[in-house]
């Protein structure tokens, strides 16, 4: 296990290195994006621009600039071109909001996706299965920005059932206020994933349910509940775990930009969108690394869970 974890950690580091390098390359090469000019401000004299170039190493080869940027990222000294504030502080500030959204939504879509997928599979072909299939397709087809705007307007503003956006930290408004503000964002973000997960699991269960080992288990007289739980569901969960790891990592890393924007959560995703809009390279770099970290981390965890679900997969 230790060797496995070490291997995964090295893999993570390599992936993050490649991601950071590619991001830096893309933004370094954008037209009109001279970083020294941007950092020095609109009315800087040539001398001031030159000073910024020296300080940040922009007059040095590409790989040294890349090294400088990485050093500043990991020491927390990375500064936004547009606002001149510390990027890492902004990410730390927004992270609780993004985590609140990601963790709650991921739990909802996992639990509901699995429950509805299993229910659908057990009643394959029945009216309830068809109904759930239609519901799932609707959920998959509805864009988050549209569904979010509708939910905000009708359930939040018009009906007053929920707050129509915003975020209240537990430390300020207490658990209930935090929970109330998160219900709509969780539900809207989870809707898309519930549809996908339930469809994937339904099909996986239907594929597995007639496999030889399942028939063998039944022939041995094992109860149906045990057959479904220990043999069918356990094996059908492997693609779900893979998907969940990727999706959860993505949302945790600030990928739910639209949901954060529609519900005015002002988390890491929102910061990312703001920085992209301003072509502000340092925060874009840092948020991409932040997101990549969670995707790689969740993938590592998924690998471990694989082994627990399927003993045929050896960690070594």
């Amino acid at each position: 296990m230790a060797r496995f974890i070490v291997r995964r950690l090295i893999g993570m580091a390599i992936v993050m290195l490649v991601v950071s390098f590619l991001t830096f390359l893309i933004f370094f090469k954008i037209p009109g994006g001279d970083p020294a000019d941007r950092l020095a401000g609109k009315y800087a004299t040539p001398g001031q621009v030159a000073a910024v170039e020296r300080e940040w190493g922009f007059d040095k080869p590409f790989w040294i600039q890349y090294g400088n940027m990485m050093e500043k990222t990991f020491t927390g000294d990375l500064i936004s071109y547009t606002r001149q504030d510390k990027v890492v502080e902004r990410i730390i500030d927004g992270a609780p909001r993004t985590f609140s959204l990601a963790i709650g939504a991921a739990l909802i879509w996992l639990v509901l996706g699995v429950a509805l997928g299993l229910f659908s599979a057990l009643r394959a072909g029945a009216l309830s299965d068809r109904f759930l299939t239609v519901l799932a397709l609707i959920g998959i087809s509805m864009p988050v920005f549209w569904l979010g705007a509708l939910a905000n307007y009708y359930l939040g503003y018009k009906a007053g059932l929920f707050p129509d956006g915003g975020y209240v930290p537990i430390s300020e408004g207490g658990l209930w206020e935090w929970f109330k503000h998160m219900i709509l964002p969780w539900s809207v973000l989870a809707t898309l994933f519930v549809g996908v997960y339930s469809r994937v699991l339904r099909n996986q269960v239907l594929d597995t349910i007639n496999d030889d080992y399942v028939r063998t288990a039944r022939a041995k007289g094992i109860s149906e509940r045990r057959v479904m739980g220990r043999h069918v569901l356990r094996n059908s969960m492997i693609p779900i775990v893979t998907l969940w790891g990727l999706d959860f990592g993505y949302v945790l890393g600030g990928g739910a930009i639209l949901t954060e924007t529609v519900f005015d959560l002002q988390g890491v995703g929102d910061y990312f969108a703001e920085s992209i809009g301003a072509l502000d390279v340092p925060p874009v770099m840092a948020v991409v690394l932040f997101g990549a970290f969670f995707i790689v981390l969740l993938n590592g965890i998924v690998d471990i869970v694989y082994a627990a679900l399927d003993p045929r997969i050896r960690l070594s």
């Binding site: 009109g32 994006g33 020095a40 401000g41 609109k42 009315y43 800087a44 004299t45 001031q48 547009t82 606002r83 001149q84 504030d85 902004r90 500030d93 705007a149 905000n152 307007y153 503003y157 129509d164 956006g165 915003g166 924007t261 529609v262 519900f263 005015d264 002002q266 929102d270 809009g277 301003a278 072509l279």
Partner: protein, 563 residues
């Protein structure tokens, strides 16, 4: 100031005009800058209480040396008072200067090159420390050392400021500023006489801060100031708090704040920003954008909705150095083709159509009536435009219309391209990223033929607009005269008028304005209107919407009985 970039551009060019100007005073200005609030039918209000304001985004900075946006200034103006300020009145009177921390208007000597201010006695910052005459020099040094967007106003204008900047030593000396602590006198020597200098002093960059304020951007912990409010809490980039400053002295014309506290929250969702005010969850929204929610507000809460026309000009530039716009007939054809009614629709009605270059609230504005290119409220004369294009032999000429990816700019570029197509030019829009737009079209190598642009006043002086069309401000890069307008007659008139007091020069500026329009040097189409909305808790009729400073936070008050 460019609304789209938020950080303002072209200030060096302003200084080109500001310098070489003789005369003094300049405390007269504006003709009908604002019509909202402040004065008529004041409602009964209570002293104290807390209000919540929504901002669409966090101000650029909460440091008077750095902030250069409307949102920033609205919060900082009642927090940091400069030596001079504007009368807190609506309409033309609001554009007139009055003493702020200075005891009186400055004494101007040495042919307009020396300004002497005297500080009021017993002034204290919000933290209780005494205000010293030498703090003014420190305040200006911070603006220069921090490379603020406001630095070009002072560098070059004040003797020794450029040398101070070049030396790069924060604690160095600006030789042109002398302070006498005993007499509380501050003497400022200018490199050349400047009638615009009093307006520059009244900008919030000059809001005094203590002499030991560090040379660093202090948004997270703003320095103490002398204002009706003080900033007491800054929460990341999403909220900050203004609290009543109990140390604010009695200054005639600057009444103390009515509210005890203003909590300012960033709410990015455009619909929610407005709805919060409609439902009284927030009490005010800074600069609401047009949309369904604002329309709903207008319909449901007419008694707390007003629009104010800002001192801004929205116009299309046509590059005089690039075909086909080097031909006056083609420029006239475009002026004929633009349908102001369509442009107003782009702004959801928040645009006051007009064909003047100087905005309605500016001294020197005299409505060009009738507009030479047709009534802005009527359909355009396309036949006339087409015939002019034919006469110029410009049919089928290729034109790129430049705009950026921000809301109104993109739609404007697309509209202008379609209007040009309609009269026989082969035009198409060229949309680029907002943060590089003005530097790109301001680079002569780009040869931008036509495009969208706008300007918001920094201070109510025509010079703050006319530098955009003065031939001597044309530069190879960072050019703000995007159309390369270089009319010798207009250039001379601008130079001749600059030294004069505004009241004397008003007709002259109106004449320049008329020539700019009649010669189709630019195609202005209007001035932006800003809606003012408040919750039911606020005494709406008491709120002063100032022609220069916009919403005056010190006039916000809760109605009697509101908690």
């Amino acid at each position: 100031m460019r609304s789209t970039l938020r950080t303002l551009m072209g200030l060096i060019a302003v200084l080109v005009l500001a310098l070489g100007v003789a005369g003094c005073g300049g405390d007269d200005g504006g003709d009908e800058g604002g019509a909202t609030g402040g004065g008529e039918d004041q409602a009964a209000v209570q002293e104290g209480g807390t209000a919540t304001f929504n901002y669409a985004s966090f101000p650029d900075y909460l440091d008077p040396a750095m902030s250069y946006t409307v949102a920033g200034w609205q919060a900082l103006i009642p927090t940091y008072t400069p030596l001079l300020t504007y009368r807190r009145e609506a309409g033309a009177a609001g554009a007139q200067l009055m003493p702020g921390l200075a005891e009186a208007m400055p004494e101007v000597t040495n042919g307009g090159k020396t300004y002497t201010f005297k500080l009021r006695e017993g002034l204290k910052y919000s933290d209780g420390t005494a205000v010293k005459a030498s703090d003014f020099e420190h305040t200006i040094k911070r603006v220069i050392t921090l490379e603020s967007g406001g630095a070009p106003f002072y560098v070059g204008a004040i003797e020794g400021a450029e040398a101070y900047q070049k030396a790069g030593k924060a604690k160095g000396d600006i030789t042109g500023i002398e302070a006498d602590e005993a007499t509380r006198e501050i003497t400022v020597n200018l490199t050349e006489a400047s009638g615009q200098f009093p307006f520059i002093v009244s900008m919030d960059f000059g809001g005094l801060v203590p002499g030991d304020t560090p040379f660093e951007i202090l948004t997270k912990k703003p320095p103490p100031g002398v204002g009706q409010f003080k900033i007491t809490k800054v929460e990341g980039n999403r909220a900050f708090t203004l609290e009543k400053n109990e140390n604010f002295p009695e200054i005639p014309g600057l009444p103390p704040a009515k509210l005890d506290k203003i909590q300012i929250n960033v709410v990015k969702n455009a619909e929610r920003q407005v709805r919060d005010v409609l439902t009284n969850e927030a009490d005010y929204l800074d600069d609401p954008s047009a949309g369904d929610a604002l329309q709903e507000f207008q319909q449901q809460a007419t008694d707390r909705y007003k629009e104010q026309t800002t001192n801004s000009t929205y116009y299309y530039f046509l590059n005089h150095r690039t075909p086909p716009f080097d031909d006056e007939k083609v420029r006239q054809a475009v002026a004929y083709a633009v349908d102001e009614r369509a442009v107003v629709r782009i702004y959801g009605g928040l645009m006051e159509p007009g064909c003047n270059f100087l905005p309605p609230g500016m001294e020197g504005h005299q409505k060009v009536d009738p507009c030479p290119w047709g009534d802005p409220g009527q359909p355009p004369d396309l036949e006339k435009a087409k015939s002019l294009i034919k006469e110029a032999g410009a049919e089928g000429e290729k034109v790129l219309v430049w705009g950026n990816d921000e809301d109104d700019s993109r739609q404007n570029a697309e509209y202008l391209a379609s209007a040009m197509k309609g009269i026989g030019l082969d035009a198409r829009p060229k949309i680029i990223e907002g943060s590089v737009f003005f530097t790109t079209v301001g680079n002569q190598r780009t040869k931008a033929q036509a495009g969208f642009t706008n300007w918001f006043q920094d201070f109510p002086h025509p010079g703050n607009f006319l530098f955009l069309v003065a031939g001597d401000t044309i530069q190879p890069t960072n050019n703000q005269n995007f159309g390369n307008v270089d009319d010798p007659e207009i250039n001379t008139a601008i130079k001749e008028l600059n030294p004069k007091e505004l009241s004397e020069a008003s007709d002259g500026y109106a004449e320049i304005d008329r020539k700019l329009v009649e010669r189709a040097h630019v195609v202005p189409y209007g001035s932006k209107k800003i809606p003012l909305i408040t919750s039911e808790r606020i005494a709406f009729e008491n709120v002063l919407f100032h022609p220069v400073l916009q919403a005056d936070y010190t006039t916000f008050a809760l109605k009697e009985g509101e908690q």
